[in-house]
């Protein structure tokens, strides 16, 4: 499986570390809604198909990436820097 890093170009998945589900939204830190926190910490939707997730190019440029991956085929459908401002003017080497 190759992930096309926006900075480094296509690299083997062994250079990347998985950083979790990118679809979650953290509740307001002041919130005491137990159900909202429980859902945020423990509950995942586990979709069979298109999924949005964070990866870090830990063995490369060390940026965090927002990857859209098909969990059935491992096809990488989209990759962008997690820090949105970096995506302007991004290009492959």
């Amino acid at each position: 499986m190759l992930i096309p890093c926006p900075h480094c170009g296509p690299r083997d998945v062994s250079e990347f570390s998985y950083q979790g589900d990118a679809t979650r939204t953290r509740p307001d830190p002041a919130s005491t809604d137990v159900k909202a926190w429980h859902d945020y910490v423990y509950n995942r939707s586990n979709p069979a198909g298109r999924h949005s997730e964070y990866w870090q190019h830990a063995g490369g440029c060390r940026t965090h990436l927002l990857v859209t991956r098909d969990t059935l085929t491992h096809e990488i459908q989209a990759v962008a820097f997690a820090r949105a401002a970096l995506n302007e003017g991004a290009g492959k080497p």
């Binding site: 900075h7 480094c8 690299r11 063995g59 490369g60 440029c61 940026t63 970096l86 080497p93």
Partner: protein, 194 residues
Amino acid sequence: MVERISPLGEAFRPGTYGNLAEGPGVTLTEATPVTIAEAAAWPGSAVALSGAIETVTGLSLPAAPGAGVVGGGAVAFSIGPGRYLVAGAEGLSTKLQAAISLDMGTVTDLSHGRAALRIAGPRAEWVLSKLFALDFSPAAFPVGEGRATAHHDIFAQIQRTGGEQFDIYVFRSFARAFWQELCAAAEETGYEVR
């Protein structure tokens, strides 16, 4: 300045080794510069930071990802968005720290934390291709450019410093292990250590 001891120790044995039927295919040397520093920009300051590096080193640094430049007195290459590895002579870190203000970015002196191992020769691309899943051909990896990658868990930042020459920056504590790996990979082509 305190003189640094090579991290390669007894593993550095000058001579020729391996399959020498066609002469040594590569030459392996330690090429650790006096100063190695990482300069990193805060969000939005990448252009200003590369300009400051250019001012200090006198190099012309292209903006593209992975870009780099090899000059007489210093080298620099991109290792991530807004991040550069800069290496050169004594005092370079101090000059970079003076030119890069705290609101622009940070400069970290890595002179005692990294070692640079140099592989040169007609089979250098071949030997490196055995270690890293990268395209080392001159078209994909031109002179001056840099790549941040890893060999198993040994993090490596590689710059092409000549037509048949690469400098590999590794953590100093891994340098001896990686040097031995490099020697083992070069057995097939024959290698000279000097």
